[in-house]
Amino acid sequence: MSTAATAGALAAGTAHRAAESPGFLSPTGVEITFLLVGLVTLGAAVVTVTTRQLVHAALWLVVALGGLAVEYLLLTAEFIAWVQVLIYVGSVVVLLLFGLMLTRAPIGRSPDADSGNRWVAFTVAVAAAAALVWVVVDAFRTTWIDLDGAPSGTTEVTGAGLFQHWVLPFEALSVLLLAALVGAIVLSRKANGDSAPGAKDAAGSGPAAGATRARRDQEGAR
């Protein structure tokens, strides 16, 4: 974990500059909010991956993603928070619901939502979680983010950053999205030859990607 090590070093650096780094026992209001929302988010996520009702899973996903958006706000990244709400809650989840419907997912409790692999998955997940948490906590125990001062994630800051430093990747990304669009259409066409649902699906996925891209562009224009 060399990254963690460097981060630790940096953290030490900041620590002595910002003289007092408050302990965990005296949380600020932001922290409490973050904690609570985080709990909700996590809970929603857990329900998402465990519930037996597929549509409910999608809805709980909405809650989790929304919670994340709030966390972004708390981290003063408002633009990303809105984008999160727009794209994820707005399009991705809708897409997923479309998918559920198109694959005739059963409405209501489906007994076999989880495969026989559940316990293996659980162990692996818990082990990974333990490892990650341990490492992260070990590395950033004392690191302090100071969120005061000018918010670093406002729209103009982000826009400026994007169009000063990230233009080329940004355009490349739009090409990628285009490719994804074409790919989605081709895939769904090939799959069914000339039957109706393929066209509908292509229409379903195509505009979504297209929408994101269009939105991205107008953002850039602004």
């Binding site: 981060a7 953290a11 650096g13 900041t14 600020t28 932001v30 922290e31 996590l42 996520a45 998402t48 991956v49 597929l54 899973a57 996903l61 989790a64 994340l68 990303i80 984008v83 999160q84 794209i87 991705v92 897409l95 479309f98 198109l102 694959t103 997912a105 489906s110 076999d112 989880d114 495969s115 998955a121 659980f122 997940a125 990974a128 979680a129 990650l132 992260v136 906590v137 302090w144 983010i145 100071d146 969120l147 670093s152 994630g153 982000t158 950053g161 990747p169 990304l173 990628l176 994804a180 989605a184 799959a191 069914n192 649902p197 393929g198 292509a202 996925s205 979504a208 990607a209 994101t212």
Partner: protein, 134 residues
């Protein structure tokens, strides 16, 4: 705010998504779990960006930029993924991951003497020959 909070939350979310990916049967639920994992990463990116932009005077905001890119790519990925899932569903009539076992050993019943079974013969042959000659 302590960096540990978002980091731990991200880790937990990631592992939740991991569990989903490994445990869910329906392909679309797997996709949802993938979204969770992506978001966990995003949270990390944003949190570290917020920290570094102060601690290391980072004016590049690479964290937020990358988070944006991730979101965009995630959208594309969902599109493609769903298309694939639908195609599979149309061909096979199911979107259950563990019904798709074409790579299983000796799966195909239509050509029994495929390479694998063909290669399996010699080892017994040597043994049986030993008995035969005795």
């Amino acid at each position: 705010m302590h960096l540990a909070y978002p980091a731990v939350l991200a880790a937990l979310l990631f592992c939740t998504g991991l569990y989903g990916v490994l445990a869910r049967r329906n392909a679309i639920l797997v996709l949802m779990s993938v979204e969770l994992m992506l978001n966990a990463v995003n949270l990390n990116l944003v949190a570290f960006d917020a920290w570094l932009s102060r601690a290391a005077e980072d004016t590049l905001h690479s964290g937020q930029a990358l988070a944006l890119f991730t979101i965009a790519i995630a959208a594309a990925e969902i599109g493609i993924g769903l298309a694939i899932v639908l195609a599979v569903y149309r061909n096979r009539g199911t979107s259950d991951i563990d019904r798709l076992r074409d790579t299983a050993e000796g799966h195909d019943p239509d050509d029994p003497d495929s390479d694998a079974s063909g290669r399996a013969i010699p080892a017994p042959a040597a043994g049986e020959k030993a008995e035969a000659t005795a």
